[in-house]
Subunit: 339 residues, 2 copies
DNA sequence: CTGAAAGCGCTTACAG
DNA sequence: CTGAAAGCGCTTACAG
């Protein structure tokens, strides 16, 4: 249409330069007019370019199996897009160990990936790492946790504050006046785990917004995650607060509290996070009443897709993808597991 | 590797015949050995074949806007796979009118589609229609409702019985003894809408399984969906049952009951189905406590993908895809809307 | 700055 | 029954 060769059209489409101003304008005009979009199939077939994605997330075998799920979602996505010729490298780190993180982060940079999928769970270390990504021109997608002030390509995860707010609503359903609630933070690094703090905040906000609900909230921090220590700490709390009608655990480690309650034969409303395998039996037997789910599989899936869209298909989606906050009970558990 | 031409390899890969037994075996052996899988990209690029999908679902502008959502999901899927050269034709029918359905169903057959995405909401008519699909060799995917005994390619939707069961659990949270519950079926064709009956069943099952909960369930059927008639019927019910503490509406028409309750300034626990626009303001203002969602967008999305996988990519997924039963409240509404 | 040519991994007539 | 050739819509050197 423009009276130029297909090679020239290719140069303007991909802004590879070496085109005279006149030709450039002429071609661009026609591209606009006929809404020309290059065929992705033909393009990736002809292009010899291979992409390398690096996935930098916590270990799947620490004291909670949470990180298995995002991995499942990533593998699903990678299988679907296998024909685009993408190489993926997984790098896992200990989420409580900055040294382990830095080691893997350096590896990531050295492999010169085209894109990075990254869970920035350690705040300070993540900020530092991301600097060298920017220096090396490596675009990165955040999943699970967000650091708003950085220049990430996309964030995929939950609104943590709102999830705590929801938990409070579920906690308060049919509650009797004068009830006491125990909030149990179980984490080695509570100050560094910002999303846990946000969940606490949301939980408290709810009761501030609903002063009519007559409850008393007591919070304890358990900084050692092993079961004996948790049992001991809970025992002390029950001595101190006599009238506990509900427990909120703002992390996937709710199964540790469930283990204690089961042992003590206490039936108290219990709400926690995440459909990890350790929590399932307690949801089934009624020890845990509600689990709030972060859609971890989708986090992984859409994380990979965000990289694909940016690097391969050249079309970006939403910058922040807030996933729905799923409520899981004994009664709807089954189909969340199968899906 | 087999010492034959690429044309011959193509013949055995796609079982197009015209290959001698010896060559066939030789090639198949090597295909196995090297795990040869034809490149989908190159394949669809070279193939001039275009696919035609027909989408046969109810109108989006009847007395509930439910069917907009699956349409959204379908369009999302179609946009993603646009490079595969697929033509889509939408045929809508009035879900309460068998004649309208048959008219569109005939059109569907006449357009000789390669695949059909279909919501079999009218039981008898659907069974009849599907027969001619089979005669014409048209594979079909069910969404939203299932007819188990037919030979569908895939079903994508919810376990209706279990969703009613879950609704009952939510209804009973913190309920006082001696409560009365009203179940309100609003449908012109309750007997033909099997999934509504299944939801009723599940709801009742829960209380049978939990005899400790002291409630009384009363069911009314409202066969005319206009608001005045609904108001009138509810008025009568409230005269008859004095102690109603909860209302369950096993369909998206829960907003009609909410409208009545608002008008009468009654605050009663209200549970219904589907995040349709008519229900949203009532969830926000607290008139509706819980909505059970069927993931309608996903129904449409995965419906299209099931056809793509079967016809284009030649790899089938699960036959029955039961979607999770989402619980939606005022507090987690926002991110279900955005997602 | 521009065009012609080869090639990506397939499919599809066509000739024998 | 089998192979050679053209072509799908691009990208990528290469020559000028």
């Amino acid at each position: 249409l423009a009276g130029v060769s297909i090679g020239t059209v290719d140069r303007v489409i991909h802004q590879r330069g070496q085109v005279s101003g006149d030709t450039l304008k002429k071609v661009m005009k026609i591209v606009e007019k006929v809404h020309f979009r290059p065929d992705v199939l033909a393009s990736t077939l002809a292009s010899k370019k291979k992409f390398r994605f690096i996935i930098l997330i916590p270990d799947c075998h620490d004291d909670s199996s949470f990180w298995k799920a995002p991995l499942t979602g990533m593998k699903k996505a990678i299988a679907e897009i296998s024909h685009f010729g993408i190489e993926t490298i997984y790098l896992h780190f200990d989420q409580f160990d900055p040294v382990s993180f830095q080691h893997q982060a350096n590896k990531a940079i050295r492999s010169k990936p085209d894109g990075l999928l990254f869970a920035p769970v350690q705040y300070l270390q993540s900020v530092e790492f991301v600097k060298s990504c920017t220096e090396n021109n490596i675009p990165y997608v955040f999943i699970n946790s967000n650091i708003e002030e950085l220049d990430y390509l996309s964030y995929i995860g939950q609104d943590s504050i709102q999830s705590g707010y929801l938990a409070a609503k579920l906690m308060s359903l049919g509650f009797v006046a004068g009830s006491e609630i125990l909030v149990v933070n179980i984490s080695k690094q509570i100050a560094n785990h910002r999303h846990i703090l946000k969940r606490n905040k949301g939980f408290e906000n709810y009761f501030e917004d609903h002063p009519g609900i007559d409850v008393n909230i007591n919070t304890i921090n358990i900084e050692n995650t092993n079961q004996e220590y948790v049992d001991h700490s809970l025992g002390k709390a029950f001595m101190k607060f006599k009238n506990i009608n509900g427990i909120f655990v703002p992390s996937s480690r709710v199964f540790k509290v469930a283990t204690y309650l089961d042992k003590m034969k206490k039936k108290i409303r219990l709400i926690g996070y995440d459909l990890i395998e350790e929590n399932i039996p307690f949801l089934e037997d009624g020890t845990i009443d509600f689990l709030i789910s972060q859609k971890p599989v989708e986090q992984g899936y859409f994380g990979i897709m965000a990289l694909l869209n940016h690097l391969v298909l050249k079309k970006d989606g939403k910058k922040n993808l807030y996933l729905p906050i799923d409520i899981i009970t004994k009664e709807n558990l089954k189909y969340y597991l199968e899906y």
